[in-house]
């Protein structure tokens, strides 16, 4: 606990998410001062004069340097280590600093926007390495990108205006924002853990607790993944499918289990085998005659469903 109201949960990775200027970096710096023995990677990667290889080993024992070298090679820096630091690009700097930090011996890892300077195409592999390196250790990772929350976090803390306004398991926080401020910051998103069971090229099919979800993402069959279904992309239809769901590939029949107004909209929870939240207008509620226990079809376009390696 600290001034911002952040709970440091040991043994898991917590992602701190929030808009720019929310105080995420300040929180991390506070944790550095508070805990002391931490592996900390500041937001701005900085390399000192000398070779990239020399930078990689700074502050590490020989054994830890070996591990950092392994990470560096995995991050595609193997050929660069004999080069002077000033030749490195922004992304290379970020990856080198990350490789060094991940090799540190401390039990607590504090990473400030570790993927911000990394190319989009390289992020999934690096995120997987971070997850692997932090397994069983305590991680706090700051980001302002939702995709990274899902890829990296076990827990999620939402920060707004210098304080943590909600924290808990990722899927819980993303699907059930406790305040309008949180909902505005991250939206309401259904998050499911599942396994890829089908690859149709542009789309993949994921099985999550027996429910099939079709979406897009760079994943392979058999992979453990997380599936994101933003609640505002869910369309609710009559049980007979009218009005037609158009091009929506995902169609699940289910029963409304809860309804609650959020601002001017209505948050509807449908049990399709797993709970699915939909944000709809009061008009739709009237047209469909929705109420608790109503039977409905929930439809979502596959392009709205994101699948992230987990």
């Amino acid at each position: 606990m600290n001034g911002a109201g952040f709970d440091l949960v040991r043994g898991v990775t917590t992602v701190v998410f929030g808009p720019n200027g929310a105080g995420k970096t300040t929180l991390l710096r506070g944790l550095v001062d508070e805990i002391g023995a931490v592996a900390y990677q500041p937001q701005q990667p900085y390399l000192f004069r000398g070779l990239l290889g020399t930078n990689l080993g700074l502050g590490l024992s020989d054994e830890q340097s070996g591990l950092a070298g392994q990470y560096a090679r995995r991050f595609g820096l193997g050929n660069l280590l004999a080069q002077p630091a000033f030749v490195a690009s922004g992304g290379e700097r970020a990856r080198l600093c990350l490789a060094r930090t991940l090799a540190r011996p401390e039990d607590v890892f504090l990473l400030d926007e570790p993927l911000a300077a990394v190319d989009l195409a390289e992020r999934p592999a690096i995120a997987a390495t971070i997850r692997h390196a932090l397994e069983g250790r305590t991680g706090v990772i700051v980001t302002h990108e939702l995709e990274q929350v899902v890829a990296l976090g076990d827990r999620l803390a939402i920060m707004i205006g210098g304080v943590v306004v909600q924290q808990g398991p990722v899927a819980e926080v993303m699907a059930q924002p406790t305040s309008e401020a949180v909902a505005r910051a991250i939206g309401v998103t259904n998050v499911y853990d599942g396994v890829v069971v089908g690859d149709e090229g542009a789309t993949s099919t994921v099985d999550a607790d027996g429910v099939q979800l079709i979406g897009s993402g760079e994943v392979r069959v058999g992979q453990d993944v997380r599936v994101l279904v933003p609640a505002e992309t869910v369309t609710l239809l009559q049980p007979d499918g009218s009005p037609t769901g158009g091009s929506a590939r995902n169609r699940w029949e289910g029963t409304v289990v809860a309804m609650e107004p959020v601002g001017r909209l209505v948050d509807v929870v449908v049990d399709i085998g797993i709970p699915l939240r939909a944000i709809v207008t009061p008009g739709s509620v009237d047209v469909l005659g929705l109420g608790v226990d109503s039977r409905v079809v929930a439809a979502v376009k596959a392009s709205s469903v994101r699948i992230v390696e987990r």
Binding site: V32, A37, P42, Q44, G50, G59
Partner: protein
């Protein structure tokens, strides 16, 4: 025409005086005194400047002000204070150091130290915030942290060395007071210039001045060349 003639004569005499064995002796003593003072001030001043630049301790800002004031100390005042200390009946009179090259080295060391400390601290303080944060995150020992920071601001440290040597080799007040300008014993280039000028020996004075200029140039250029090396 006459005024120009004076200058032309002085220049001709200046070149003639360069082969004077007495001048060579004076140049040698100048290099030894200012060289030792500079090296000693760097040895003490660079670690102090690093500590001042990196450290966050009580009294730091007061110390910083003291160093800044020290950078502009009048050489004659330093010479006078040192002379009082070293005077036969003074607190350090037993050392018998008045009018010796050692006293001149001490005087120049005292003038150079604040410059080295101040410029090193300034160089360290100019490290980007990201470098300072990364430096802390590496969890290095104090010595390793200081070494890495110094290496990072190497051109600034070279600048401190250049400034320190430039200050002491061209300084006249302090060495004149504590050294006494004794021919063959404590006469250096600057005091030689004073001596010769007083006696209207403009040629030898100008010759000594030329040598001083060349020394400054050589030291400056050779130190500056190391800036890009690391």
């Amino acid at each position: 025409m006459a005024p120009v003639g004076l200058i032309l004569d002085a220049i001709a005499d200046a070149f003639a005086s360069l082969s004077d064995p007495e001048l060579i002796e004076v140049v040698a003593l100048t290099l030894v005194v200012s060289g030792v003072a500079s090296v000693a001030s760097l040895t003490i001043g660079v670690p102090m400047g690093t500590a001042l630049g990196l450290g966050r301790f009580r009294g730091r800002s007061a110390l910083r002000v003291a160093v800044d004031v020290g950078m502009g100390l009048p050489p004659v005042l330093v010479g006078l204070a040192l002379l009082l200390l070293l005077w036969r009946s003074g607190p350090l009179g037993g050392l018998r150091l008045t009018f010796t090259p050692t006293a001149m080295m001490i005087a120049q060391f005292l003038l150079a130290v604040p410059i080295v400390v101040g410029l090193t601290a300034t160089a360290i303080e100019s490290l980007p915030a990201a470098a300072v944060e990364q430096l802390g995150a590496l969890r290095l020992s104090l010595v390793d942290r200081a070494r890495l920071a110094l290496l990072e601001v190497w051109p600034g440290v070279v600048g401190a060395a250049v400034a320190a040597f430039g200050r002491v080799v061209s300084e006249v007040g302090a060495v004149l007071i504590v050294g006494g300008n004794i021919a063959g014993e404590t006469r250096v280039l600057t005091t030689l210039i004073v001596q010769e000028s007083r006696q209207a020996q403009f040629g030898p004075a100008l010759g000594a001045g030329l040598v001083l200029l060349v020394i400054s140039l050589v030291v400056n250029v050779s130190l500056s060349r190391t800036r890009g090396r690391l």
